[in-house]
Each structure stands twice: as C-alpha cells, then as structure tokens.
Amino acid sequence: MDKKIIYMDHSATTPVDSQVLDEMLPYFTKNYGNPSSIYSIGRESKKAIEDARERVAKAVFAQPREIFFTGSGTEADNWAVKGVAYSNKNKGNHIITTTIEHHAVMHACQYLESDGFEVTYLPVDENGLVSPEQVLEAIKPNTILISIMFANNEIGTIQPIGEIGKIARDKGIYFHTDAVQAIGNIPINVSELNVDLLSISAHKFYGPKGIGALYIRKGVKITSFIHGGAQERGRRASTENVAGIVGLGKAIEIATLNIDDYNKKLIELRDRTIFEIMKKIPFVRLNGHQHKRLPGNVNFSFEFIEGESLLLMLDMKGIAASSGSACTSGSLDPSHVLLSIGLPHEIAHGSLRLSFGKDNTHEDIDQLMKELPVIVERLREMSPLYEKVKRGN
C-alpha cells in the first residue's frame, strides 16, 4: 500500500495500539506457558490473565471474579442471552430486546424463539431510541431477561441504560447490555447502571480481534456452553488466549483512562463533519440522534444513490468507510437498523457510516469534505432517480 489511507471505520474495527501490542508480544514467544501448568512460565501466564481481569473489572467498576473472557463480543452476547434464557426457563420464557440489536443478540434471540422462548422486539423511534416506558410496558410475569444494546454500531444512538437498568432491578429481571461499541466511548459503571451482564470486544478499542469478555454480576444464574476443562472457573473451557487477554486488559485500561480527552476530540470531528455535510450536500438525512450518539459516529443517507458505489468511490480516494445498503450487507434488504428507524428502502440503500478514531485529524475531514460532495454529485448524475427530481417529477 503506497497511498495513505484515511481510515474512518473504527466501528468496524480498530488498529492494535502499539503499547497494547508491546504487552502482548512476550506471550507468543517467551511466556508461552499454559496458564493451567504449575511451573513458572505457566504461573506467569496465569498471573497475566488475572492482571488483565483486574483491569477489565476496574474499567467497568466490577469485581474481577465477575469478568469472564470469551472468544469475541459475539460469543459474549450469545452466552449472555442464551445462557440466561436456558438457566431461568423454570421462571419464565419471555425476553425483551429491541429491533436494532447487533446480529449477535438478534439471531441468538431468534434461535431461542425456535426453541420455545417468546421474544418482544421493542421498536425504536426515528432517532433509534427506546424509551424506559416501552420497556416497562413490555414486562410480563414470565419475563426473565431484558437485553438492550448500550450504543448502536450503525447509527451510534446511545440508549437510556441507567433508567432501563433501574426498571429491570425493581422488577427482579436480569438486564444484559451489549456494550461492544460503548466501551472506551462512554464511562460505564455496572453498579450505578444496574446492569447484570455486559458484553465487551477488544478490537473495537485498539485491542486485538478474537477476544472478548462477559461481565456476569455475582449471583446471576447462567448456563455455560463451552464444556471442557476448568478454565474461567469452570464456566468457559479452553486454554486461554493469553496474549489476547493481555491485549484486552491493556487496551481497556488505556481506553478508559483517556476517555474524556478522546471523546472531546471525536465529538469535535463528528459535529464538524455533520455540519459540513448538511451545509454542502443537498438531499441528505442524518441517521441517529443528534446528541445522544457515539462521539465518533456520523451516519447519513444520500438520496438517489446507492451505498456500495459510494464506498467504492471513496476507497478509490483512499477513504475507508461503511454503509448499510443491501449490496454491502450481503443480504436482500438494507440494514435492519436503518429500516427500524423508519427509512424507506431506497433511502436506506444510500447510507454512509463514518466512524472516527484516535488517529483521525481535521486534515482527514478536510480531505473527506473535498472528495465526498464530488462523489455524491457524480453518482447522482448517473442516477435515473436524480434525473426525475431535477426535472421536477
């Protein structure tokens, strides 16, 4: 790659921070011991895992014994939703979630429906918000779990997690939140928020891919799925991904330590981009809530054009971004999130998500704002839909 790429897709994944990598590297070569072994290099691996567990616990104000490492955010979501459902089915079979969850939660819920559980998918408003009142109204005597994501990966909308947590606690119902996009962007205190289970994925905050964690509040009844050895106190078997766990621990420490400065910078880039797109490009719609959104998230629909074409043209200019169009989702329909906030299919097809991160600068936005209006205009000139608008019919 000779051309510098302007990476604006941090909600998809992030590069591993060099400090994180430095801490990980010894666990591939020098300190390769199996954490279950009793000799010194095994004990060192064990120690590294427990240090990482402490860092994760500290980041969300939990106890280290409440943190369980998993193979990904997806695994944490599956474990939380299915594990609580199966473990509590003597109490009830009803689950409350939303229509905008990540597929990891949504498809886990759909699977449970095929196995006799009943799921309420709460609709969201035009900004992607669920209200605590909706949650309250959906609760039934047989409700055993509420699973609502902290912040949405596409439109960035941040849910009223504290208020929902309070309702869940008052009613004695377990509350899970997928915080994969929230960690490092929003300060999280699981006690204050009354969260019982919380999913984490390292690669969204400058840690490695393929490592996640599930916070499980002490006392929560939850079935295990990965049966085998006694790792993770017998609840998640398999020889630990030591380097990954170390990376997760270091990454979450950095992410939570610098959260205020990081946020301030991202919000500035975000709000500038939103302002300039609205000013410079006609026929656009901002998707997601104006303020209650992830600090680095910008999501627009550009009428009369299709998202994949837009991404390809941005890529040719060295700008990496993503879209919720059907052509990029690999399915028949555009993103379920964009449809849930009420976008017609044709508008959802023309969506663009930019998600900023720590290396983005105002110069990157300058470059984006130089290219984007030209690309949008070029695609519109090719579009038979735009032709109709210009002719006024």
């Binding site: 009369f304 054009i305 299709e306 994949e308 074409s309 390809l312 043209m313 040719m316 169009s325 059907a326 052509c327 690999g330 399915s331 028949l332 555009p334 017609p344 299919h345 044709e346 097809h349 000139e381 090719m382 579009s383 038979p384 839909l385 032709e387």
Partner: protein, 147 residues
C-alpha cells in the same frame, strides 16, 4: 472482490447519460431493491447507433450498464437481443455470485428498450410482450449459497 474490468467500467463508465428523442427507452428494477437501470437507444436502419444509460445501484450495476452499452452499439436489433446476462458478465471477466442479478438487470434493460422501440414502430410481434415486467425484490438473489 470485483475484477479489474468491473472496476474499470465502474470508475470510468462508458456512455453515461441520456439521448434526446431516443428511438427506444427501457427502465428496469426499482429503488426499493436498490437498483434501477435506464437504457436509451438510437436506432437507424435496424442498427443500434448509440446507447446511453443511467443507473442507480451498486458497483456491479454501474459496470454492467456500461459494458452492455458497449456490447450493443453497432449491433443489429436482433444481435442485441441475443445478448444474455451471461455474456455481459463474461465480458466483465465475471461477477461475484452475489452480484449476478445485476447482469440480469442489464439484459432486461436492453430488451425493454428494444421492446419500446418495436412498439413505437409497430414491429411488436405476438409473444414479444412484457419481457421484464412485474419484477420484484424477491426475484433477486443476493445470497451466494442458498442451500
């Protein structure tokens, strides 16, 4: 995932635009499905002397539109009608399986524009009618493996 040819036709599409007073116009697809192709033809003595397109859609949709105009210019109407989705895809050195429906769109847009030409000139024969009408999103296959 796209061939170099597809990327070439996507980034430098040939024959984008409209023809004033075209001899045939066809429009296929709908915005709900995420792609629309509109094809304009200029036909003299049964030969397609010019073709232009406008397309709303993904990279493959734009590239197949562009390629299909290249394939039909200079051809007789009957030769143009013999162009299939497969020949458009082959001319582009192939399309990813999930994008094959875009080449159907190109074939249908050509047929629809020629049908319009025939209709305007009283050349429609029985059995020529309605080549591509009633197409719905459900008819499109985006998935690579649907087993």
């Amino acid at each position: 995932m796209y061939s170099e040819k597809v990327m070439d036709h996507f980034s430098n599409p040939r024959n984008v635009g409209e023809i004033v007073n075209p001899d045939g116009v066809g429009e296929i697809g709908n915005a709900k499905c995420g792609d629309i192709m509109k094809m304009y033809l200029k036909i003299e003595n049964n030969i397609i002397v010019d073709a232009k397109f406008k397309t709303f859609g993904c990279g493959a949709a734009i590239a197949t539109s562009s390629m299909s105009t290249e394939l039909i210019i200079g051809k007789t109407v009957d030769e143009a009608l013999s162009i299939t989705n497969k020949s458009v895809a082959e001319a582009l050195d192939g399309l990813p399986p999930a994008k094959m429906h875009c080449s159907n769109l190109a074939e249908e847009a050509i047929r629809s524009a020629i049908e319009d030409y025939k209709r305007k000139n009283g050349l429609l024969e029985d059995g020529d009618g309605c080549i591509a009408c009633g197409r719905r999103c459900d008819d499109i296959h985006h998935h690579e493996d649907e087993d």
